[in-house]
């Protein structure tokens, strides 16, 4: 995954950017072809597509910027796990998706405990305790501030 990202990541980013731009312009011109509707976004889209092409053509080889950034991170973090950001981001997505079902209080507790545990597997008790205290505390504090009810299970 890491090698694939290093090799093709830049290309994937500009491809996604170009695809989103084209989809937006197609949608906009389907809604209205008036000059007022397209005067700003069409020239802007052309400039974006031109820059996407420029970035794709002039992109550096994998050993360039990404490799250097990675090396810095590794040295700063000691025994850093390259896959950890992916796991953490996956956990964050799962946390957000779970909120409508289990509420902020429970979701906060589980997310914080797992997030801390993922980065410090030797201290599960610390993770659990911090998750319970901070997760519940944050949900309670926000509920006190906001004028409407947040989705909750326990509180």
């Amino acid at each position: 995954m890491k090698r694939f990202l290093e090799k093709f990541g830049d290309l994937l980013v500009v491809s996604a950017c170009a695809a989103a731009t084209i989809a937006y312009v197609v949608d906009a011109q389907a809604k209205s072809r008036s000059v007022e509707n397209l005067a700003f976004i069409v020239p802007l889209a052309i400039a974006i597509l031109g820059l996407c092409l420029l970035v794709a053509v002039t992109r550096r080889r994998p050993a360039g910027a990404v490799g250097e950034a990675e090396a810095t991170t590794q040295s700063e973090g000691g025994a850093a796990n390259a896959a950890l950001p992916f796991y953490c981001f996956g956990l964050l997505v799962a946390y957000v998706l779970s909120i409508p079902h289990i509420g902020f209080d429970l979701a906060n507790m589980v997310f914080v405990a797992l997030f801390v545990w993922l980065q410090a597997a030797r201290q599960p008790l610390h993770a659990l305790l911090f998750g319970a205290l901070f997760g519940l505390g944050a949900a309670w504090a926000f509920q006190m501030i906001l004028p409407y009810r947040l989705p909750m299970t326990l509180l």
């Binding site: 950017c17 906009a28 209205s32 970035v55 991170t73 850093a80 902020f104 906060n108 901070f134």
Partner: protein, 509 residues
């Protein structure tokens, strides 16, 4: 006369009659100090995270709260630079050069004192300059029509894109893509575009959750690979008296203080440049002018004074473009512009003309913040230096929960957290591949404004492009835009060639 004394009187009444405005300032300063001091946590991230809280404040209190975070972060970044040799924020890089060597020599108390005093002086200086010039700037900018505003916004986004990042094309691409995303929703003529059937997007992408994703989530996820641990050196003890002695140390270099403050204010006013550059430029200038430049990097207090006075005075400089033009120069001021929008206020010359008392109140409140920072910084430095040593995994988890809940609080439904996740992923990719996050955010904020102004221009001119020649100021701004786009890559290319030639010259034959 550029100072409106009746508005000044109104500003003093506003500040004197609002307990809320003063209650939130120490809180904001503390948040800024903490986020600034922890490596990896940026001040703009703190401002974005706490932006939802400002929805329940009046506009003046909201602005003072956000500027207090900005101010606290300015000095907070210097604390970890000095104590552990890791800049807390990008604005405190140059503070590390002499601050950390001072710590190694056992002068960390004096270094912290000098940094705190210089930050306060720099900030005060920049807001005094802003106070004296804002009236003139507003009267000048009031002549701007839609074409000029369009050109200013495009110039700002372009400049942030090409100067803020490592790559010209990627920076510009981030800014322009941000502009495009900023036009999603209902257009100025009532056409719905780019919503792809999602009714929640009719009002456009919710900017604050998007900013939270770009600034906070992307950075926090990157931080999961790091843990800044201070080893045996963490036992350094802080001494109140010696920190105050550091104030005196900074006062011994009034020329360096003034030079840093002036450079910071000027550089801070340029969109896309700001305090990240001003602290380095001021440090380099102080070193160049010094009779003993070799002492820099070895623990010369002048280095700390030059860097800290410049990065703090950049704040006032960046407020010039925000208040006078409604154009944010970077991440922090972009969050402030979002706060303007959240309170249904449009920044720019009309805001200064119509609500001069509030503008003066913001400026005067910030001058008072400089003195409060001096006190609060002095009394909380022990606590903050201890917090720097807390394992970052606890802090990232806590801040992520606050970001997600804050995003929900802003939209009142799950759209906020979903946008936060989407932009968090986008921001993480952008950071990984060196795209400018600040340019994307400013583009997102400016997209709708550019679109609306272009529609006005089209309607005023009847579609005749020669209208540009009837507006000399707009023409000058357009030329400036072209020059920026043409000159910056040429300069970078030339520098690259020179560096390559120098390297080739060093290689043995």
């Amino acid at each position: 006369m550029w100072i409106d004394f009746s508005a000044l009187d109104g500003a003093l009444s506003l500040l004197g009659g609002s307990w809320m405005a003063w209650a939130v300032v120490p809180l904001g300063l503390m948040i800024g100090l903490i986020f600034g001091a922890i490596p990896g946590m940026q001040t703009s991230m703190a401002m974005a995270i706490f932006l939802p809280a400002t929805l329940y404040m009046d506009f003046l209190s909201a602005m003072l709260f956000l500027t207090a975070i900005f101010t606290g972060g300015g000095f907070g970044g210097g604390i970890s630079s000095i104590l552990i040799g890791i800049p807390g924020t990008s604005t405190a890089v140059a503070t590390t050069f002499d601050g950390y060597p001072m710590t190694r020599k056992g002068q960390h108390n004096e270094a912290l004192g000098a940094a705190l005093f210089s930050s306060c002086v720099g900030m005060l200086f920049s807001y005094v300059i802003l106070f004296l010039t804002i009236g003139f700037l507003a009267s000048f900018v009031l002549n701007f029509g839609p074409l000029e505003m369009l050109m200013v916004a495009l110039w700002g986004v372009t400049l942030i894109g090409i100067l803020g990042g490592k790559s010209f094309s990627k920076g510009l691409l981030a800014g322009l893509f941000g502009l495009l995303l900023g036009t999603i929703g209902t257009s100025p003529i009532g056409v719905t575009r780019g919503t792809f059937g999602i009714p929640d997007l009719l009002d456009g992408i919710p900017v604050v959750p998007a900013m939270l994703g770009l600034f906070a989530v992307s950075e926090l996820i990157s931080l999961t690979q790091r843990d800044y641990i201070v080893g045996s050196e963490d036992s350094r003890r802080l001494n109140f008296g010696r920190i105050i002695a550091g104030f005196g140390m900074a006062m011994r270099y009034p020329g360096t203080l003034l030079q840093g403050s002036v450079m910071g204010a000027l550089i801070g006013a340029i969109p896309g440049v700001g305090s990240s550059v001003s602290n380095l430029a001021s440090y380099a200038e102080a070193r160049r002018r010094d009779p003993n430049p070799e002492s820099f990097g070895q623990g010369n207090p002048k280095g700390v004074v030059a860097a800290e006075s410049a990065n703090s005075s950049s704040e006032g400089g960046s407020m010039v473009t925000l208040l006078a033009l409604g154009l944010p120069g970077g991440g922090g001021t972009a969050v402030m512009l979002a706060a303007f929008a959240a309170h249904n206020i449009t920044g720019g010359p009309k805001f200064i003309r119509d609500q001069t008392d509030i503008v003066y109140a913001i400026i005067l409140g910030n001058m008072a913040q400089a003195f409060l920072l001096l006190l609060l910084g002095l009394f909380t430095i022990h606590f903050i230096s201890a917090l720097v040593k807390v394992p970052i995994r606890y802090l990232t988890a806590a801040v992520l929960v606050m970001s997600v809940t804050g995003a929900y609080a802003l939209t009142g439904n799950m759209l906020g957290p979903y946008v936060l996740i989407a932009f968090g992923a986008l921001g993480w990719l952008m950071r990984r591949f060196n795209y400018s996050i600040a340019a994307m955010v400013v583009g997102l904020l400016m997209g709708s404004l550019c679109d609306t102004n272009l529609v006005y221009v089209y309607q005023i001119s009847g579609g005749d492009w020669q209208y540009l020649f009837e507006r000399p100021l707009a023409l000058a701004l357009a030329l400036l835009l072209v020059v920026c786009v043409a000159v910056v890559p040429m300069l970078r290319w030339y520098r690259g060639l020179s560096a390559a030639a120098a390297q080739a010259g060093r290689k043995p034959a």
